[in-house]
């Protein structure tokens, strides 16, 4: 167990960092539950990967990619309320995923498992996490301005639809990666809780984004470490660690 810990902690640290950073925007944009719903969509993709013996991460990402095109199209092409449609579509995906995922792998898919982490997994997680942070960093301010007012962002020449789409794609990437760490059921927590905690502690954007990323990293590392010590599943342990940080942040809440 001890020898295996370094690769899992590395994966957790980088994915936690990226999830916290992206989560800061998702919370501002009131997309918290989108992250949660998206992670459910990943399940059928993951299951297909297991059944047909290709990398489940690819399956998850492909399923997320398709569903993001779907949400984006509904949002832009119709006047329908996305909430209900998304709710139906996503719970349906979860149901299908639950049925087709082979029983032995189901628990792993639902709650994550990074006890078996190869060097390739580490490399993929580190590179993609850094890529996600880099891309989002470049559009962070524009996304925030677009959140305050879409028209205001357009008035300074921002192509708001384009950056929204890029952001959703990066969210899909991080959700697909995060599933390995905390599983499809708990991925929402990895993006929401660090940002919610950081919001309590921040008065400006750079603090907020920075703390959120840092809390994502710390909760992953602490969670994975303690899970291995007490031989507990890492996914729930990561969520417990981030929730603990959230409750501590309430004490220091800045108005």
């Amino acid at each position: 167990m001890e020898q295996n810990l370094l690769p899992s902690i590395l994966v957790g640290a980088f994915v936690g960092l990226a999830s916290g950073y992206l989560g800061s925007l998702m919370v501002l944009r009131k997309m918290s539950l989108v992250g949660d719903a998206l992670s459910h969509v990943a399940l059928p993709g993951l299951a297909l990967g297991i059944i047909f013996n290709f990398n489940p991460f690819l399956g998850a990402f492909a399923a997320l990619f398709v569903s993001i095109i779907f949400i984006w199209t509904i949002e832009n092409k119709t006047k329908l309320s996305t909430e209900t449609l998304v709710g139906i579509f996503f719970t349906l995906s979860l149901a299908i995923g639950l049925i087709i995922t082979p029983e032995p792998e189901l628990l792993e898919a639902l709650f994550g498992d990074i006890s078996e982490t190869s060097a390739l997994d580490v490399a993929i997680a580190v590179i993609l996490s850094l890529f996600a942070i880099f891309v989002v960093h470049r559009i962070y301010n524009k996304l925030v301005l677009g959140t305050i007012s879409d028209d205001l962002a357009k008035s300074v020449g921002t192509k708001t639809k384009k950056i929204d789409f890029i952001f959703l794609m990066i969210v899909a990437l991080i959700v697909a990666l995060g599933i390995k760490v905390v599983g499809t059921l708990l991925m929402g927590a990895l993006v929401i809780i660090p940002a919610a905690a950081s919001k309590n502690l921040s008065r400006n954007l750079s603090n907020y984004a920075g703390f959120s990323a840092f809390i994502g990293l710390v909760s992953s590392v602490v969670g994975i470490y303690f899970a291995s010590v007490i031989e507990f599943s890492p996914g729930p342990a990561v969520v417990l660690a981030s929730a603990a940080i959230f409750f501590i942040s309430l004490i220091f809440k800045k108005d």
Binding site: L28, I148, D151, K154, R203, N204, L205, S206
Partner: protein, 236 residues
Amino acid sequence: MDDDKILKVKDLSVSFGDFNVFHDISFEVKRGEAVAIVGPNGSGKSVLFRAILNFIPYSGKVEWTKNIKIGYVPQKLFIDANFPISVNDFFSFKTKSKQAIIEALNSVGITGNEEHLQHHILSKKLGALSGGQFQRIMIAWAIINKPDILLFDEPTSGIDVGGEETIYNLLHKLQTQNKLSLVLISHDLNIVYHYADKVMCLNKEMICFGEPHVVLDPTSLSKLYGGEAKFYSHEH
């Protein structure tokens, strides 16, 4: 285009699907001129702004003078008090120059040295500002790159009556000092009489356009508001 005309709009129409918002609007704005747009709720005033700013599809012609710089203040933004953004962050979306920020703050009547402004304004959360302060910050934000024209959707929504007049005085001062053109959407006809060089009455179509004292006659007003006086005192 003539040198003194900075915006020419011809036969502008906007529809959302089958719903026609307004049709065949034509008008011009000259340099340094203040134009007010009046009309009841749902008459298409904000949509007109969004069309001439090219945010939404339209038919007709919108012609801006070359290399024009446009400042825009949208209708009542609501910023959650917990939104973790400082006034400084908000300005940083537009400029990295501290000097430019301080100049813009000074010209909207928020004065003091850099340290004072940093402490009392720039480090504050955007959502923690009072309604009047927030509107001033929005104007400062819009004029920071010294625009030729400022489009302002309902300058006084969310401001008490005392603050209302000062916002107009401020806009008027900016207009005369910087030769800034203003296009304002307003509900308040008193303000229009007082500050606007021209007024456009809009209700699905252009009912009048010209100097307020000339064109705002009882006929066009009753056509505009359907003869109901209650619109005159409309407040948000």
